[in-house]
Amino acid sequence: AQRVTQPEKLLSVFKGAPVELKCNYSYSGSPELFWYVQYSRQRLQLLLRHISRESIKGFTADLNKGETSFHLKKPFAQEEDSAMYYCASDRGSTLGRLYFGRGTQLTVWP
């Protein structure tokens, strides 16, 4: 069973429009959650993590335990945001492994 679900394989928005990349997890405890991003021809890198409650490159993500969601949001998308985004959860693992969703390819049109 998919432990981390990203329902949208592809997402397209126009520059300046709000964007929301959805992520749902199926673990009932208190997992740590992360968003990773992979720009074209670059390595996968950490975008943000739930525990730090930070905003990176204008993106934020709020953990909603009731809906078991960790959606990634940005109020005004930029062309340079075009990338593959992966949501990941540790599912309470003590061994440091992460479970990744299948990814959402975001395209921001000019």
């Binding site: 390595r43 890198q45 492994r97 990744f100 299948r102 990814g103």
Partner: protein, 113 residues
């Protein structure tokens, strides 16, 4: 300042060959991981290691083995390469607690013909 280095960016191997993918990290991380990345399937964990000479199976270990003789090096071995192992392979490392997340290598694109 590259911190996780995968020895090859592209590899082409023949069916049945034994293939070694090497990964080295210079951050003194305890944990190291091998994933394969396929379109529409995301990242799937093959094996991981949380200490020297320790290894744990991930979700898709069949057809693969690993070696971790030194803390900084984690090798993925395809015992007898098959065409369905054509993929992008990603190595990652993390501290004992994963609060800082993973650091990934740039990946090895393996094609088995």
């Amino acid at each position: 300042d590259v911190k996780v280095t995968q020895s090859s960016r592209y590899l082409v191997k023949r069916t049945g060959e034994k293939v070694f993918l090497e990964c080295v990290q210079d951050m003194d991380h305890e944990n190291m991981f091998w994933y394969r990345q396929d379109p529409g399937l995301g990242l799937r964990l093959i094996y991981f290691s949380y200490d020297v000479k320790m290894k744990e199976k991930g979700d898709i270990p069949e057809g693969y083995s690993v070696s971790r003789e030194k803390k900084e090096r984690f090798s993925l071995i395809l015992e007898s390469a098959s065409t369905n192992q054509t993929s992008m392979y990603l190595c990652a490392s993390s501290l004992g607690t994963h609060w800082d997340g993973y650091t990934f290598g740039s990946g090895t694109r393996l094609t088995v013909v």
